[in-house]
C-alpha cells in the first residue's frame, strides 16, 4: 500500500518530470522562431474595382478551366452578380450560372428558369459585382473544420486538404459569403484559393489574367510599394459583411449599399 506521503512525493516528481519536456515545446516553438527571424512573406489580398466590371464572365470561365471545377456543374469558385435598382426602390439581383456565360438575358433570373423583365425606363442604376473567397483574417471555415482539413497559410490564403476533408459541410455552413461548395468530382469541400499554385510562383490568378478590364487585381499587403496595397491604403475601399467579424481581405472599390 502506498502511503499518502510517498503518493504526494511521487505525484510531484511525475508532474515536474513531465513539465520539463513540455517546456521544450514553448522554448522551441517553430512558429515563434519563424516570427523572430523577421522575414515575413507576403499577405495576399484582392482588389475588385466594381466600376470597371462589365459582367462578361470571362473570369468565371477562366477560373473553372484553370481550377478544374466541372464546366457545367452549377457551382463555381468565383462568380459575378448583377444588381439592378429600379425607381420603386427595389433591388433585383441575379447571377445565372455564376455568370459563366456573362448575362445573356436582359431579364433577371429569379429561379425555376423564370425571368423577370424590367423596363429600361424603370432602371435607376445597375452594376456588376465580382465575388470570390475573401481569404478572411479570422476565417470561420477554418475554425469549424472538425479535422483541420482546411487551414490558413502564413500568407493568408485558406486552403483545403482534399486528402483529409471528411465532407461534413460545416465549413460551407460557416461561411457567410457562400463561397464554399462540394466538389462534384472529389466530393470534398472546395473554394477559391486565389490560384495559390500560380500566385506563389509569381503569376497572376486565372481570373485576373482573364479580366480584360482590370476590374480584378491581386496584391501583397505586406509590400507598401505594391500598387494594390497603395490603392487599399490611400483610396476609399470597402469589404463585404464586415459585421461577421471575419476580417475579409478582398477589398472593393465603388461598393454600393445594395450589395449583399
Amino acid at each position: 500500500m502506498i502511503s499518502r506521503r510517498s503518493f504526494c512525493k511521487k505525484s510531484l516528481l511525475i508532474a515536474g518530470g513531465l513539465a520539463i519536456p513540455l517546456s521544450c515545446l514553448e522554448l522551441f516553438d517553430p512558429k515563434r522562431l519563424l516570427a523572430e527571424k523577421d522575414e515575413k512573406g507576403p499577405r495576399w489580398v484582392f482588389l475588385v474595382d466594381t466600376r470597371k466590371c462589365v459582367g462578361c464572365g470571362f473570369c468565371v470561365k477562366g477560373c473553372k478551366v484553370e481550377n478544374e471545377v466541372p464546366y457545367d456543374a452549377n457551382v463555381t469558385r468565383t462568380w459575378v452578380e448583377r444588381y439592378v435598382v429600379t425607381s420603386d426602390g427595389k433591388t433585383h439581383i441575379d447571377s445565372p450560372k455564376g455568370a459563366r456565360d456573362g448575362f445573356p438575358n436582359k431579364g433577371i433570373d429569379i429561379g425555376h428558369g423564370k425571368l423577370e423583365e424590367i423596363k429600361d425606363d424603370d432602371i435607376e442604376k445597375a452594376f456588376f459585382v465580382p465575388k470570390l473567397c475573401n481569404q478572411c483574417d479570422n476565417p470561420p471555415c477554418v475554425q469549424v473544420c472538425p479535422v483541420g482539413a482546411t487551414y490558413q497559410t502564413a500568407d493568408g490564403v485558406v486552403l483545403v486538404d482534399r486528402s483529409w476533408c471528411i465532407g461534413c459541410g460545416y465549413c460551407i455552413m460557416g461561411c457567410p459569403y457562400g463561397v464554399r461548395f462540394f466538389h462534384p468530382v472529389f466530393h470534398v469541400a472546395e473554394k477559391c484559393n486565389f490560384c495559390y499554385h500560380r500566385i506563389t510562383k509569381g503569376m497572376q490568378t486565372a481570373c485576373v489574367d482573364s479580366c480584360a478590364f482590370g476590374a480584378r487585381r491581386v496584391g501583397n499587403l505586406r509590400d507598401p510599394e505594391d500598387p494594390v496595397t497603395r490603392v487599399i491604403m490611400t483610396e476609399r475601399v470597402n469589404v463585404l459583411k464586415e459585421e461577421y467579424g471575419t476580417k475579409p481581405q478582398v477589398f472593393y472599390l465603388g461598393l454600393s449599399k445594395e450589395v449583399k
Binding site: P140, Q143, C165, F182
Partner: protein, 415 residues
C-alpha cells in the same frame, strides 16, 4: 450533379454555390442524440434523485438509451461525403470546431452508460452464468450463453448483500455523473448550430438549452411509448402463459403498474415541455423585438413559408394538443400513446424547422431555398439523404434494443 442540387429549389437571388447541404440526416442526428440524452435523464431521475415512482421505467430507459447510442452517429456517417474518413474526427480532432468534441463526449457518455448498466445487471449476469454452469452436458448454444455471461461478469462473482449495496452506490454515482455528460452530449449538438454566425436563424446562445429541454421531452416521450408497447406485448404473453406459470404477474397487476408508471412519467414530460416551449417562444419574441438586419428574411420564412411546419405541426399538433391531452384528468393508456406520439412529432419538427428552416433562406437575405425530401431513392445520394435513409436510422435502435434485451432483460426484477 452537384451535391444538394437534387433536392434544392432556389427562388429569387441565392449565391450560386448555395444549396441545402444539411438534409434530413442532420435532422435525425439531434433527434436521435436527444432521445439518448432524454432516456438517460429519465433513468437518472430514479437512480440519483430517488423518484421511486419511476422505478418501473428507469432500467428500461437506461437500456434503451444504450441501444440508441450507436445510432446517434449513424446519421452523421450517412451524411458525410467521405464516410470512410469519419474516424478522423476521433483521431485528429481540431478543437476549435464544435464537432471535434464529438469523439470525446460520445465515448465518455458511452462508457458511463455501459458501466452503469453493468452494475445494474451484474447480479443477473452472475445468476445466469451460475445457473448455466450447473447444467451438465450443455448444448453448444447453452455453452455460448454461458461463455457470454461469464465474460460479462468480468470476474466479479460476489453477489452478497454487501456487494449488491456497493453496486447500487456505484449506480447512483455513475447516474449522477451521467446527467451533466448527457446534457453536454446534447447541448453541444445545439452548440454546433448555435455557434454558426453565418446563419441568422441558428445563431443564438439559447440553442443548446433549447436542444437539451426538447431532448429530455422527446426522450421521455419515446420511453413512455416504447414502455407501453412492450407492456402490451407482455400482457398478451401473460394471458397465454399464465395457466402454465401461475407465478407470473397477472393481467390486472400489469395493467395497474403500467397506468401508474405512465401517469407519473408523463408529469415529468409536461414539466420539461413547459421549459422547452418557454425558451423557444422567448427566442422567437426576442428576434422579432430586436429585429436586426436578418429579421426581414426570417420573418418571411417563419410566418409565411414555414408557417404550417412551425405553428401548425410543431407548436399546434406537437406541443399544444399533447399538452391538453396530458392535462385532462384521468390519463388513459390510449391517450398517452397519442400524446407521446404527437410529442415526438413536435420535437422532430422542431429539429426539422431549425435544420432545414435555417437553410430555407440565402445568406444574401435576398432569396429562398426549398427542400424537397427525396422519397424514393434513385441514387446512392438520395438513398442516404432521403426518407429511406432516415427510416433506417429510426429503425435501427429498436433492433439493438431487441438484442440488448436478450442479455439485459429490462423487466426482470434483479434487486
Amino acid at each position: 450533379m452537384v451535391h444538394g442540387e437534387a433536392w434544392t429549389i432556389k427562388e429569387f437571388f441565392t449565391y450560386p454555390n448555395e444549396y441545402i447541404y444539411w438534409t434530413i440526416q442532420i435532422v435525425m442526428y439531434p433527434f436521435m442524440t436527444g432521445l439518448v440524452a432524454g432516456a438517460f435523464v429519465l433513468s437518472s431521475l430514479y437512480h440519483v434523485f430517488g423518484v421511486k415512482q419511476l422505478k418501473g421505467i428507469a432500467r428500461f430507459s437506461l437500456v434503451f438509451s444504450f441501444a440508441l447510442l450507436p445510432v446517434a452517429m449513424l446519421p452523421l456517417l450517412m451524411h458525410l461525403q467521405q464516410p470512410l474518413r469519419g474516424i478522423e474526427v476521433m483521431l485528429t480532432p481540431h478543437f476549435t470546431s464544435a464537432i471535434a468534441a464529438f469523439g470525446i463526449v460520445f465515448s465518455t457518455y458511452g462508457m458511463i452508460v455501459a458501466s452503469e448498466l453493468w452494475f445494474v445487471f451484474r447480479k443477473h449476469f452472475v445468476e445466469t452464468a451460475l445457473a448455466l454452469k450447473a447444467i451438465d452436458g450443455r448444448t453448444a448454444l447453452q455453452q455460448g450463453w454461458y461463455l457470454l455471461f461469464s465474460v460479462l461478469t468480468l470476474g466479479a462473482w460476489d453477489i452478497s448483500h454487501e456487494a449488491l449495496e456497493a453496486d447500487e452506490r456505484a449506480v447512483k454515482k455513475l447516474a449522477g455523473a451521467g446527467i451533466p455528460v448527457a446534457c453536454f452530449l446534447h447541448g453541444y449538438a445545439g452548440f454546433i448550430f448555435g455557434s454558426v454566425k453565418a446563419n441568422a436563424l441558428w445563431m443564438t446562445p439559447l440553442m443548446p438549452v433549447i436542444f437539451i429541454c426538447s431532448a429530455v421531452v422527446s426522450g421521455i416521450a419515446l420511453c413512455i411509448l416504447t414502455y407501453i408497447l412492450t407492456m402490451e406485448i407482455r400482457k398478451q404473453l401473460a394471458r397465454r402463459h399464465r395457466l402454465a406459470h401461475p407465478e407470473l404477474p397477472s393481467m390486472d397487476e400489469l395493467k395497474s403498474a403500467e397506468a401508474h408508471v405512465v401517469a407519473m412519467t408523463s408529469r415529468y414530460l409536461l414539466m420539461f415541455m413547459v421549459a422547452a416551449i418557454t425558451l423557444e417562444l422567448l427566442d422567437l419574441i426576442f428576434r422579432g423585438y430586436t429585429a436586426v438586419k436578418s429579421w426581414d428574411i426570417l420573418r418571411s420564412v417563419i410566418y409565411e413559408r414555414d408557417f404550417v411546419n412551425i405553428f401548425v405541426v410543431q407548436y399546434g399538433l406537437g406541443n399544444l394538443v399533447p399538452f391538453v391531452l396530458f392535462l385532462i384528468p384521468g390519463l388513459t393508456i390510449r391517450r398517452a400513446v397519442v400524446g407521446t406520439m404527437l410529442v415526438l412529432l413536435g420535437v422532430f419538427m422542431m429539429r426539422w424547422n431549425v435544420v432545414i428552416g435555417g437553410q430555407a433562406f440565402s445568406s444574401s437575405f435576398s432569396g429562398f431555398m426549398h427542400y424537397v425530401l427525396p422519397l424514393w431513392p434513385d441514387s446512392m445520394e438520395t438513398l442516404k439523404e432521403g426518407l429511406v435513409g432516415a427510416l433506417i436510422v429510426a429503425g435501427v435502435p429498436f433492433c439493438f434494443f431487441y438484442l440488448l434485451n436478450k442479455v439485459m432483460p429490462v423487466f426482470k426484477e434483479t434487486h
